[in-house]
């Protein structure tokens, strides 16, 4: 089946099975590296992208349910020559170790900041409760999100 997806501002037509999780289309058909495979079970958040303004887990989102809402991945949030405040903040705070969870952290945080531009640390931790990090970068991640929030204030 063909689906037309708007990803990071560009339209793409893909011919895939209707139940194909969006994650594999983004990574394999569109060659995007942002969203990551972590569990395929919506338990870890590594695959997070935005559908419209909402953070979704692309590993359990069948392409047939996406419709024409715009999809934004980490690449669409900002690029090396024009970083999103969160991306800049994650660099400034060195808020990663292996970095595999970083996509999920940034994309989840970006969605939260849209709803709540001045979150408390508790707000941030609660919003990121669905994002797993095994290396233990949690403290820096919260600091980076705060830093990004302050820079946008």
């Amino acid at each position: 089946m063909t689906f037309t997806l708007t990803v990071n501002g560009q339209q793409h037509v893909v011919d895939v099975a209707a139940d194909t999780p969006l994650l594999y289309i983004l990574r394999n058909d569109l060659q995007l590296n942002g969203p990551k495979f972590g569990c395929g079970l919506s338990q870890c958040g590594a695959c997070t992208v935005h559908l419209g303004d909402r953070a979704i887990r692309s590993c359990v989102t069948p392409v047939s349910t996406v419709g024409d809402e715009p999809i934004t991945t980490l690449e669409g949030l900002g690029q090396p020559d024009a970083l999103h405040p969160l991306q800049q903040a994650f660099i400034d705070e060195q808020a990663a170790q292996c970095g595999y969870c970083t996509n999920g952290m940034i994309m989840s945080a970006a969605a939260v900041l849209k709803q709540n531009p001045q979150p408390s640390d508790a707000d941030i931790k609660q919003a990121l409760q669905g994002n797993l990090c095994r290396c233990g970068s949690h403290v820096r991640v919260v600091r980076a999100v705060q830093r990004a929030a302050e820079s946008q204030a």
């Binding site: 394999n28 590296n33 690449e75 900002g78 970095g99 290396c135 233990g136």
Partner: protein, 707 residues
């Protein structure tokens, strides 16, 4: 954009896929039209351009090259696991060569390009790898000085080095650059093992919190991980792992996936079973639908009685320390305390399940792997494929944090087998349940301690025993140590014999009177689940037991735990670290356990008795109803000698705190009589944001001490 060479290489993560990052459309066009030929040609071109044709560790060219711009490339056998060492090693090299950090790039973990530095493991990268890089850079510096002295006709002690230029101190306009002296040429000289390295008091790069070079691409979706590698013509595979720990494949019903789109082949060899498909989701679907009949094999012992099972096994016993007669002391002591501590099987629990890509062309295999040891894996895979090692190249690409011997080597082996079967590049991605079930585990251990204090409140007798299997079942060049090896027909023989790692920090750094420390090594067959290296190996369990028992003895002596430690520690650096933690924490002396449901605790260790000193203090609360433990605040004081990058170090320490707290409070692998039952994040929970404590770190810097 990619203005500097270091930014280019850093963004790419590995030379071979660097070309895909040449700006958007151009890069993509290059990739699409030139594909595999381009990638190999690019690599060969790089090798020639960099003049790097040897991996002989005695030769300078194996470690370092200088290009026509005077920029330096370091060839490192140690690899970036997410620990920040890629940056730290670059700092070491830049320091010795008096170069700005930005002018040093690192190529890592490639059997065709980098020296064999063994495994990136054991907290050895700075300690050993850093020394190698320092020596190489210092050797190169000396060569450059000698060449410049001759070229400029100026004595070498009257030369100044700055930013890749060597000039006469007296007449600065008499100068020559590194590029002029050696750019793009080989040194053809050995490493000078006795080279004089820079005095730490002159450091301007080492010791600075240089930002990690690998973070910018990680926050913007640059190609970084092996999971991101896409080769032209690449197929997607899913391996159907055995239905249980000891299961073997009896039958496969291939008709169970007839008609599923995109399936290219079902590959079977003995009990090794995989599906290969054009698209990733097609492989996933086919693998989950393919019907196989498995013989369960020998039953696993019950998890509920695992400790008793381990204690009942025949062991190889080794006395590690023996001073005085602890049995006699303990026999004659009125209040002998005794305790048993256990550690369950635990997971590495990498956020990204293991993934590898194997390519094959003209009988030459290239394995892209997040292995900790490219040479050891190459040897094992070559055996598995039945080819000579010179037909296999292993190239490191980062995976998610591994924290030891996770599934990476095994996924790499599977990819290699499938590339051999298909004659095309194959990508193997483990699913979450594959990683949870099939990664080698941090082993279950049992620790028993007896001890007593004398009338003056010091330890008079101490008898410590630990039951443990080996903590390494790494590939180490043997096909049978790779997961598919023993599954194949005929099976590759398992070749694990060395007892290693379970005894780390079984001995403490305290003076403990009459004491004996014994390791009871369990044979591999006695461990129902495959054990292997998980961060700190036996040190975690042994330190947990030793420090817990020190608290018991302190209480029996009516002593404060901190004061009790200091009483038994004859080591100024150790005492300093304990005191630094206490000052930061505001440790409240106490002589009896808290009854209020909240309290403070401390632990001290010198890693493997000879390396880094760590003192950790926590406050926490325990819910008496649920038993839930909530950490409030953690303070760590840390002395690792010379600090290369203090921010990188703090980053690692924070990670250690959270990961080990999660292991101590939450984690255990669960299994039934045939299989592992903790197969996802709901059945193997780890710390989430709500559990993370406040963490304060005190770094004690001793630049005079080895790193």
């Amino acid at each position: 954009m990619m203005a500097t060479r270091r930014a280019f290489l850093a963004h790419s993560g590995a030379i071979v896929i660097g070309f895909t990052l040449l700006g958007g459309k151009a890069g993509r066009a290059l990739a699409e039209t030139s594909g595999r030929v381009a990638s190999h040609a690019y690599e060969a071109d790089q090798a020639i351009r960099l003049g790097q044709t040897t991996t002989d560790a005695t030769q300078l060219d194996s470690w370092l090259s200088i290009d026509r711009n005077g920029d330096v490339t370091i060839f490192s056998g140690k690899v970036e696991l997410g620990t920040g060492v890629r940056t730290a090693l670059g700092q070491i090299a830049a320091e010795e060569l008096d170069l700005p950090f930005e002018r040093v790039a690192l190529i890592q973990g490639d059997t065709a390009r980098t020296p064999d530095e063994g495994y990136t493991a054991g907290s050895q990268t700075i300690q050993a790898g850093g020394v190698n890089v320092r020596k190489a850079a210092a050797t190169a510096r000396q060569v450059l000085i000698n060449l410049a002295a001759a070229r400029l006709n100026v004595p070498s002690d009257q030369l100044n080095l700055a930013d890749g230029v060597i000039s006469s101190i007296a007449e600065p306009r008499r100068r020559v650059s590194y590029a002029d002296l050696v750019g793009d040429q080989r040194f053809a000289l050995p490493i000078d093992d006795n080279v004089v390295t820079k005095d730490p008091s002159l450091y301007t790069v080492v010791g600075q919190p240089v930002q990690r070079v690998d973070l910018p691409p990680k926050v913007t979706g640059g190609v970084t991980y092996v999971q991101d590698l896409r080769l032209p013509g690449m197929l997607h595979a899913r391996v159907i792992h055995p239905s249980g720990v000891n299961a073997r494949l009896a039958q496969v019903d291939e008709s169970s996936i007839t008609g599923l789109p995109g399936v290219v082949k079902i590959v079977r060899n003995g009990s090794f079973l995989a599906v290969v498909a054009e698209r990733e989701e097609q492989a996933i679907k086919a693998a989950s639908q393919l019907q196989g009949t498995w013989d369960p094999g020998p039953a696993l012992p019950s998890q509920d009685t695992l400790s008793a099972h381990l204690l009942a096994q025949q062991t190889q016993d080794k006395v590690l320390a023996d001073t005085g007669d602890p049995d006699e002391v303990l026999q004659s002591n009125a209040t002998v305390l005794q305790a048993t501590y256990t550690q369950p099987y635990q997971l590495h629990a990498s956020i990204g399940p293991s993934c590898a890509v194997a390519d094959v062309a003209d009988g030459q295999y290239t394995i892209y792997s997040s292995t900790q040891g490219v040479y050891q894996l190459r040897g094992a895979i070559a055996q598995l494929l039945n080819v000579g090692p010179d037909h296999v190249r292993v190239v490191y690409m980062e995976g998610a944090g591994c924290y030891g011997d996770n599934g990476s080597d095994h996924a790499s082996a599977e990819a290699a087998l499938l590339a051999q079967a298909m004659g095309r590049p194959v990508r193997v991605q483990w699913m979450r349940h594959d990683e949870h079930a099939w990664e080698p585990k941090g082993p279950a251990m049992v620790m028993q301690v007896r001890g007593a204090v004398n009338g003056t409140g010091t330890v008079a007798g101490w008898d410590y025993q630990v039951w443990t299997p080996t903590h390494t079942t790494r590939a180490s060049g043997q096909a049978g140590n790779l997961l598919p090896g023993p599954l194949m027909d005929p099976p590759a023989p398992v070749a694990i014999s060395a007892n290693f790692g379970g005894d780390l920090n079984a001995i403490t750094n305290y003076g403990l009177g009459a004491n004996r420390v014994t390791a009871h090594w369990l044979p591999l067959s006695a461990s129902p689940l495959r054990p292997s290296a998980l961060r700190s190996l036996g040190a975690m369990a042994n330190t947990f037991a030793n420090e817990s028992f020190m608290d018991e003895l302190a209480a029996s002596a009516g002593a404060d735990p901190l004061e009790f430690r200091l009483r038994h520690l004859n080591d100024p650096r150790g005492a300093a670290v304990l005191q630094a933690a206490a000052d930061q924490f505001s440790w409240q002396p106490r002589t009896a356990p808290s009854q209020s449901g909240s309290g403070q605790g401390l632990a001290f260790v010198r890693y493997v008795n000879a390396l880094t000193y760590v003192a950790t203090m926590v406050d926490l609360s325990v819910d008496p109803q649920s038993g839930q433990v909530t950490l409030g605040r953690v303070v760590v004081a840390h002395d690792c000698g010379l600090i290369i990058n203090p921010d990188g170090l703090k980053n690692q320490i924070e990670g250690n705190v959270i990961q080990s707290a999660s292991r101590a409070i939450l984690e255990q692998v669960t299994f039934d009589t045939s299989k592992i039952t903790s197969v996802d994040w709901s059945t193997y929970p780890i710390f989430r944001f709500d559990a993370v404590p406040k963490i304060d770190i005190v770094l004690v810097n001793h630049p005079d001490q080895p790193a």
